[in-house]
């Protein structure tokens, strides 16, 4: 149980290959923090530096008040769950979970108690004698968790632990992990490329791209107030609509849309952003409207998404599922300006 602080952390492999740049985050005690970003963005490297698997080029990492830059991985009081689970294939489930404790020269009885306890929490009691290859993907994943739990570490590190599970199991395990976090009352740091996992599980989310931290915040905060174009595009599915626009006298003009900005911006050019759910078939009196030439209609039962052209731009709309539209139709849609964003053309920072 401890906080984790990244203080101006840099990871550089060669002079011109820097994978993590000036990374600053403070993760609170008992927090569930998700590091999310596209593959190769440096999120795993950031985690592995904390684990002690990669050297820190610059800056420092603290666990609690202790600077761990020069502390060996095994002495950092952390546990890590790997994407591949990294179970020792030649050891039984029991031995896999007992291994880290044996390394600490713990007494046999204590090891037994802890392993039994972890296996009860995770429902692995019937599998203790099996080898990993005789387990299903979900069971293996739980063994990997168990191996972390037995150590009762200060910080749990999870590196894409769900990406090898099928969709249904992934949803189930997401919930179990949250329950586990609540029961263990420990700091969790969770790395994923999947924004759905990030949104559903994280107390807070840290979004990275190209080695740079983009934004840290609660899921709601990040969804509603993305700090820049990258975050806006990364979070949310289907992704936010982006249309290039020019600003003239407080009104943004795009190729097929004109909208009065809710507050003045300093830039003359930029990108207008609005989520699909802001584009609906309910046209508000006096509000901005657009004509969409529909290319594709996606009916999901509860929702209906329209993909089409508005002027020269591609736009996605979420409309009432009962609305009858065919590809090729042209429909009139309204825009809810409460969910409107505007990004600077140069810096890509959010101005609204």
């Amino acid at each position: 149980m401890a906080s984790v602080t990244y203080d101006h952390v840099v990871k550089r492999y060669t002079a011109d290959l820097t994978v993590v740049k000036d990374f600053n985050v403070e993760i609170k005690d008992k927090e569930f923090m998700v590091l999310v970003g596209p593959s190769g963005c440096g999120k795993s490297t950031a985690l592995r530096m904390l684990a002690g698997l990669e050297a820190i080029s610059e800056g420092e990492i603290r666990i609690g008040d202790r600077v761990v830059n020069n502390v060996a991985a095994k002495d950092r009081d952390i546990a890590m769950v790997f994407q591949s689970y990294a179970l020792y294939p030649h050891m039984s489930v029991y031995d896999n979970m007992a291994f880290p404790l044996q390394m600490q020269h713990m007494k046999k009885d204590d090891i037994d108690k802890r392993v039994k306890n972890a296996s009860r929490i995770l429902g692995l009691d019937n599998f203790l004698k099996r080898k990993p290859r005789a387990l299903s993907g979900g069971q293996r994943q739980r063994v990997a968790l168990g191996r972390a739990i037995v150590r009762s570490p200060k910080v749990f590190l999870l590196d894409e632990p769900l990406s090898n599970l099928d969709a249904k199991l992934r949803g189930q395990t997401r919930i179990e992990l949250q329950k586990l976090h609540r029961d263990l009352q420990t700091t969790f740091i969770y790395v994923t490329h999947d924004q759905v996992e990030a949104m559903t599980m994280g107390d807070r989310i840290a979004i990275m791209n190209a080695g740079i931290l983009q934004q840290v915040g609660t899921p709601g905060d990040i969804y509603d107030h993305p700090a820049n174009l990258f975050v806006a595009g990364f979070i949310g599915s289907p992704t936010m609509n982006f249309v290039p626009a020019t600003v003239d006298n407080g009104t943004a003009k795009a190729s097929g849309l004109e909208v009065k900005l809710p507050k003045p911006v300093s830039a003359a050019k930029g990108t207008l952003g609005f989520r699909p759910e802001a584009v609906t078939d309910r046209v508000v009196e006096g509000g901005p409207t657009m004509k969409m030439k529909v290319d594709v209609v996606e009916r999901l039962g509860s929702d209906q998404f329209l993909y089409g052209q508005v002027g020269a731009d591609q736009v996605t709309a979420r409309v009432d599922p009962r609305m009858s539209v065919q590809p090729g139709d042209t429909v009139q849609l309204g825009l809810d300006t409460r969910g409107l964003h505007f990004f600077d053309a140069e810096t890509e920072k959010a101005l609204i």
Binding site: K74, M80, A86, Y88, P100, R151
Partner: protein
């Protein structure tokens, strides 16, 4: 698309068409060819096996195949004569004394080195490894003269070692180890490197030290590679003639089975009957080793030699 749809119908409806017949014949031809080739491959061995149970007079007068028709006149004479005429007991013992350590030493040392080559960083690592790969192609003959000279200088001759109470096989252990190491390191490094790095990182976080990782994770996971290497090295040493001839050639008390067998060829000339028995006798141990470990064998060599 049409082909995919058409083929199932043609095979179900036209059961007695020429196509069906030719398929059947094709299958039959295949089995005949496969079994024929295999039998042909075994003929030399079978011939020797049968010959080894024939009387010497028959052997020089008629082919082994004549023994397959009555009257049967099989005998164990060759085997009993062979044991009486040569000191095969001694050479069998010598072969074990040579082969077992000359297998253990290079395999163990290669495992140590391969672990370092695969999972540790040190200056010159890749160059040294490349040089080892290059050494695979160096003919052993190139090394015999200097090594023999050096052995004599250092007193590593069977006579001298026996005199000072050490096993006279030490030169052979060391030589076989030196010659076997490049291949062993090459094979094991490739295998070790293919182990998932997550396991090593996980072990590091768990607090396992270098030795623990080596003995409790790397070795148990590398059983196929190590077993196949053990077979390779054991067969190579057990069957070796050249190295033994050169380093302990003249000393009968140290000679392995192969050397004794060659001497039989020399001293008995055309006395086939002894040779046949002796040749069969020399095959027993390698065959037992090979057959008992062969299921690991393929997996192991593939990991080393065929990748990507």
């Amino acid at each position: 698309m049409t082909v995919a749809v058409a083929s199932p119908t043609s095979s179900t409806t036209a059961r007695f068409s020429p196509r069906w017949l030719s398929d059947r014949l094709g299958g039959l031809v295949l089995h005949v060819v496969v079994i024929g080739l295999t039998v042909a491959w075994m003929v030399p061995t079978i011939g020797l096996l049968i010959t080894s149970f024939r009387q010497s007079a028959d052997i020089s007068n008629s082919g082994w195949w004549t023994a397959l028709s009555p009257p049967f006149k099989f005998t164990l004479d060759n085997y009993s004569q062979m044991f009486a005429a040569s000191n095969l007991g001694q050479s069998l013992f010598n072969s074990f004394m040579i082969s077992i350590p000359a297998t253990i030493i290079p395999v163990t040392l290669a495992a140590f080195a391969a672990y370092a080559f695969a999972w540790m960083k040190f200056p010159g690592r890749d160059w040294i490894f490349l040089a080892l790969v290059g050494l695979l192609a160096v003919p052993l003959q190139l090394t015999f003269i200097p090594v023999t000279t050096e052995f004599v200088k250092l007193g590593l001759t069977p006579q001298h070692l026996t005199a000072i109470g050490l096993p006279p096989f030490i030169p052979l252990w060391l030589a076989h180890a030196g010659y076997g190491l490049p291949f062993s390191i090459y094979l094991l490094s490739n295998f070790f490197r293919a182990l998932p790095s997550d396991l090593f990182e996980s072990a590091e976080i768990d607090g396992a030290g270098t030795l623990t990782v080596f003995f409790r994770i790397v070795l148990p996971l590398s059983v196929p590679a190590i077993a196949s290497l053990v077979i390779f090295q054991f067969l190579w040493v057990w069957n070796d003639l050249l190295v033994a001839l050169i380093y302990v050639g003249g000393v009968a008390t140290v000679a392995p089975v192969t050397v004794t067998l060659v001497n039989l060829v020399g001293s008995y000339g055309q006395n086939y009957q002894l040779l046949t028995a002796a040749a069969f006798f020399s095959m027993i141990v390698p065959l037992v080793v090979f057959l008992s470990l062969q299921r690991y064998f393929v997996r192991g060599i593939l990991a080393g030699s065929v990748k990507g």
